[in-house]
Structure formats: structure tokens, C-alpha cells
Symmetry: C2
Subunit: 299 residues, 2 copies
Amino acid sequence: MQNRRRRTTRLIDLTRRLTEAPYALFSLGAFAEDYGAAKSSISEDLAMIKAVLEAEGSGTVRTFAGAQGGVRFEPWMGPEAAEAFVLRLLQEIEQPERLLPGGFLYITDLLGRPDVLRPFGRLIATLYWDEAIDWIMTVETKGIPLAYAAAFWLGRPVAIARRDSQITEGSVVTINYVSGSGLRIQTMSLSRRTMPPGARVLLIDDFLRGGGTVRGLAELCREFQADVVDTVVLIESPASAPRLVDDYRSIIRLTALDDHGREIRAEAGGFRSALDAAYRRMRRYQSPERTHDEGGERR
Amino acid sequence: MQNRRRRTTRLIDLTRRLTEAPYALFSLGAFAEDYGAAKSSISEDLAMIKAVLEAEGSGTVRTFAGAQGGVRFEPWMGPEAAEAFVLRLLQEIEQPERLLPGGFLYITDLLGRPDVLRPFGRLIATLYWDEAIDWIMTVETKGIPLAYAAAFWLGRPVAIARRDSQITEGSVVTINYVSGSGLRIQTMSLSRRTMPPGARVLLIDDFLRGGGTVRGLAELCREFQADVVDTVVLIESPASAPRLVDDYRSIIRLTALDDHGREIRAEAGGFRSALDAAYRRMRRYQSPERTHDEGGERR
């Protein structure tokens, strides 16, 4: 009885510690010490937690062997939850009072809300759960909440390109780029200290119109010899003119944005094929033929 | 045995769901339905989780009765964890390579790192765990990551004041304010749609020098008939000149910032008395004389 209560306490506390810090690596030895338990007991606990998470489609617990090893939580979002989130987002975005003069869309409120940012971040983490990503990058200002939401669930650092260079950034790399409409030349800077060469970067932004900003971010990455793994935007505008980029995934695609008729129409964006692919990889990962403890290198 | 396994599964899954979404309100009825269990069993599970969280000092589970009721996780950070975080932050900040020409401090890397933002957010959530806060507010750009970190752990929305007004914000309220040095007049805008009157606001920023920015934020709050509950800054500079504000809490206080000597010295800031007060309230909340289910209004 005493033993069972200790195990229950451990399971609750371990679940909390792991799921509160996605992708943070914990040492089995430290867990064993914290709970005054044998490593083998902790391993059993972790196997139980892993089984429950995977059965619910809410993530996995992955163990890495060796000196650099440990255990970490990798969050997933199941198909129903993803679908429900996108549907809810579509309903919110189609509210006609979001229309601003000039055919712009008010979404600042969405970018401030935990009930939008949490599932957004979790969805991004699901898309890239087994991808080698080192950094998440965006440009100020409205992309920042989205980048941090993704960064929270992926446990990766964020780099923010600034529109103007700031003295508090130290020496910076600055690029000029042309907006998608071709009408404006804009500037973007990133502190030299930000990323080491060879970093693998996920680009995130709130809105894609012509694609100039995203192309600018990719160009800035090249200056840092960084590889762009993928590009995600929350919303893409109706495709009225050719885009400067085509290799991106949107969560929401606007199909009509009519200032006069006060109508907004939207549909789920191009993220779905990537999500399906991620689910396929999860099923392979969970298949019984495969050992779960990889013992390999941690990415 | 079957029953015990079902309970274990439920405890793991409930812990994950609660701790992944701090301050999100869950319905007991929905839990009971999801797990095909009696409400009384779910209540027992929640009592167990609550006991473990409180014993570890990592939070509580609070139940609210009535139609608007439900159950939520409120995260805490224990004294040792808070101490360890501030110590680690001090060591990071005192690295001499952070000094920039002009006596500025490079902290952009810290503001991008999950291992800094997570404990920062959790510390803020601990300071204000039982405070009535409706919004977290900051001004672009470097305060944003800190505001979102706090918002994640407090489950509250974020309002970002912009340095220049943007067409995508709709109609805005703009104020002019004088920087702490008195040398510059600056501008800050917030979309009219942001906050309803009477909102209770926690102000967060990265760095406090003269206090002009924080005073500007407070003035902007007045324009929205919002109450400033408190002000938190990550770092305050050495007090060389009188400050425009005195009612704030810093996490770190710089004591020396010497460009020539290449020396940075820092100490824990003024948040500590607020943290001690929060711990006292937690002990009262946990005292056995008190019923834990308040049945009262949820804030």
C-alpha cells in the first residue's frame, strides 16, 4: 500500500515535470535520486507514462542512452484536437468585425490569447516533432507570439529579426528586402551573436501576403549560413498576385477578404499534408517492431 | 488490477492536461465523460494530484463550484527552484562579454531561451498566483517574450503596446511620453479593441533604466481605465539618477555596469519580499482549518 502510494506520487510528479518542459532533457539518475527510488523503478514509471501519452495521442517520452542521454517529453496533438483548433480559428477569423479599412484583418487579439497560442504551438510541435530544428526565427512584431508559442512546445530558442537595428543588439547583420507588392524597400537586422553557422531554422510569421518578409527572413538565414527547415504562417491572404515564395505552410488560407461587402471567407491552409506525414511517422515510431529506446544520437 | 490500471492511466492523463494549461478551467463533468468514470472518482483523482503538487511546492489544483465552475491548475515555484533560477541568471548576466559599447547590456540571447523564459514565467505566476489579473501588458520588442512567458503560466492574454501605430491595429490610443533621461519624446500606441474598461493589468518589461517606459505603459493603462496591479522588470540598471517610478519589482538589480573596466555586477532584485508574501499566502491556503473547495466566485 505504502509502495503503491509512492508510485502514484512519482507518476503524478514525473508527468508534471516532463510535460511542463517539452523537449527538456532530464537525467534518469537525477530522477532516481530525487525520488529515492531505483533507476529500474523510474524506467518502469516512464514506460507507463509513455504508454498513456501515446495511447491518447498527446505525445511520447523518448529515452536517449549514453553520457549525453536522458529522457524527454515530445508533445503531439491528435487529429481531432488539431481539427477542432483549426475550425475554431476559422470561425474566429471569419467574424466580419475583423475587417479594417483597406482590406486589412484585425488579428492582434488572437495573438494575445493563450487559448489560441497554446494549440498553435502544439500543432507546430506536432508537425515537426521529429525534425532536427535548432532555432525558431521570426521578425518583429506580430510573429513573435507565434514563434514563442512554437518554441515553448518544441523547447527551442527564438531569434527575432528587428526592423531597425538597436544598440542593445551589439553588432548586427542587416539586409534590405523588397516587400511582396514591390512598392517598398525594407530592412531587417539580426544580432551577430544570435546563431552559430549551420543552424537549422524554422521560420514563423503571422501573415503572408506577397511573401517578401518570409523571403527576407530566408535571406537573413543565408547570411548566418543557416538552413531553413520550413516556413509556417498563421494566415495567408487570398492569392491575388504571384507570390515571391511558394515553399511555406499556412494554417489558415483566406479565400475572400472584401472590404466593401464586409465578408471574410477562410479555409484550412496547406499544413495538412505535413500533418498527415507527421502522423505517419508517429505510427511508424510506435510500431511494435521497433525498439523504443534508440540509444542513438540525440538531435 | 484492471481498476488500478485505469486509475493510473487517468492520473497520468489528468496531470498532463491540467499542468499543460495553467489556469485553464476544466469541467469535472467533461473529465468524467472522457474517462467513463464517476464524478466522485475524478474528484478523488484530483485530490490526489492536488496533494502531490502542493507537497512538492509546484502548484495546486483549485475547484470552483457552480455553473461557471470547474477545476484548474495554478503553478507555483518552490523557494529552492526560485533561488536556483535567480542565481543562474546572475551568473549569466555577470559575463563580461555581455557589455556593449556605451554601457549597454546584451541580453537578447536570454530572452530567446526556453530555459530562461520557463522559470521566469513560473516565478511571475508564483508571485501573483492568487491575484486578480486580467491582462499582461508590455511594449515592443524585448518585453514581449517575458510577457508571454508570464502569460503562459498565468493563463492570461497579452496586450502589446506598439512604438508606432500600425494599420493592422485598427483605431488606436496613442500617448507621448518622455524617456527617463528626459532627452527623448517617445510614442506608444494600443489598439482600442484591446482591453475593456476596468481591466486589472500586470506590466512587464525587460529593462528599467529611468522608468520612462514603465510610466508610459501606466499612462496608457489609464487611457483604458485599467488598473495596474503591479510592474515587473527582469533587470534594473544601477540607480544613478532618480527614477520616474518607484513602485516596481525587479528580478535582477545591476550594481555595477562599467564599460571601461569591463565589469558587470548584479544582485537579486526587489521581487523577494513579494515572493515571501506569496509563500505566506500559500501556507494559509494549505492550512487544514480551511476548506479547499471555495465554492465562491472564480476570479
